[in-house]
Symmetry: C2
Subunit: 217 residues, 2 copies
DNA sequence: ATTCAAAGTAGCCAACTGTATACCTAACTG
DNA sequence: CAGTTAGGTATACAGTTGGCTACTTTGAAT
């Protein structure tokens, strides 16, 4: 039949075929609770409204698609969470702000969280390494912001990074809970805030403890 | 052909058909990095060395199998981590002991961790709820042990539980890192220990802060 | 205006999947 | 001992899958 086609350079238009395939893959993986690599070419082409052979025009393997999806998710996370951080900085309580804006992001981009958390915990997935680097980068940017605003009695830069990384991972993982039980947003938010406070205070306490130990010698 | 059979009540013998199917499913899910529900009846029967129809003698659906696998993993985790906790209590430093024995458990049961962490982060999986309850139970038992030995200036029982739960989840998730990079055991152990210390100290600090606040009013 | 490559389509194939029906056999039960 | 049943097997079927080759359309460059 050969229905109408288009060679748009995406910008604005109804998304290029490649993009549509990636989005379809994410949608299906999120809906069916499968790993990205288990989605199947044909199903995903169907979901994207394309012939199944079109897949091969854009990707070699299924693994190749996962790589592209990883880039997509990474990009969305980077810009989304950057916005979260900046909004949080203008909030009366930066911690509460970070949590609330983050949960807004989760509600607006559930697929990213659903697929992202699962792939992050799948050893075989090529996306895992990408996501780990994304979380590290976000943590590093948080450290920069925290130190520049003197939000926390600084401690060793390395410790601050570890804490930020743990918090970032914690929030990421617990985004799932919000998607699972949207009506529990308030208690989830409270737990996140409590966790963050505990981490920072604990970090300071550890620092003091080590300083005291060093004095004793 | 109809090869020899047996109606053993498992105990000791070479495992019942049901058991063998569950084990095969876990092995395959761990090996291929897929979700349990994506393993496929035939492949799993093949791995178990059984005819594919035998599956239906033991399970109705694929979902049914996942449920049984959940029970299996839950049981292994409960007994394994109980042993970890008890060994840790006899260690000079309970925290270091808990971490080291836990990592031993991870190295001895990689499939449980690999599959467990992935299913725990899969919304659709019936195993997720089971694992959440397992982690909660383990956290509660830890609380009991901690209070009975007066290891931590007690704080509110509820706070202690939250901290234990966070720590349990943290360790569980980071078991994957050990499987991913077995040569990094020492740094992973160090990070786990640091995290646990930070959590407990942070929890105490939060408690003190709140007490002080209450005095001011 | 012609050429050309990129993006899409169509149809085919062998392999595999889940499921259903029918058959076999060991062990327990009356 | 006869009967029943739980666990195992064989075979068949329709639907799906990944991958192949061959054709068509499109937009852009020459």
């Amino acid at each position: 039949m050969n229905t109408p086609q288009a060679t748009q350079q995406d910008v604005g238009g109804p998304a290029s075929g490649k993009q549509r395939l990636v989005e379809a893959a994410l949608r299906l993986a999120a809906r069916d609770g499968t790993t990205l690599s288990a989605v199947g070419l044909r199903e995903m082409a169907r979901e994207a409204g394309l012939n199944h052979n079109t897949f091969y025009r854009h990707f070699r393997n299924a693994e190749d698609l996962v790589g592209a999806a990883a880039e997509e998710i990474a990009a969305q996370l980077m810009v989304g969470l950057k916005a979260v951080r900046q909004s949080a900085a203008r909030h009366a309580d930066a911690t509460v702000g970070a949590v609330e804006y983050f949960l807004d992001f989760v509600e607006a981009n559930p697929d990213v969280i659903v697929v992202g958390t699962r792939e992050l915990h799948s050893l075989a997935s090529p996306m895992r390494a990408v996501l780990q680097r994304v979380l590290e980068t976000i943590a590093q940017e948080s450290v920069a912001q925290i130190t520049s605003q003197n939000l926390v009695k600084l401690e060793s830069r390395e410790q601050l990074f570890q804490v930020s990384l743990d918090i970032t991972r914690y929030m990421f993982s617990h985004g799932l809970d919000l998607i699972d039980r949207p009506q529990d947003r308030r208690v989830i938010a409270a737990k996140l805030v409590a966790h963050i406070r505990r981490q920072f205070l604990g970090s300071i306490a550890v620092q003091q403890l080590e300083a005291r130990k060093q004095l004793e010698t």
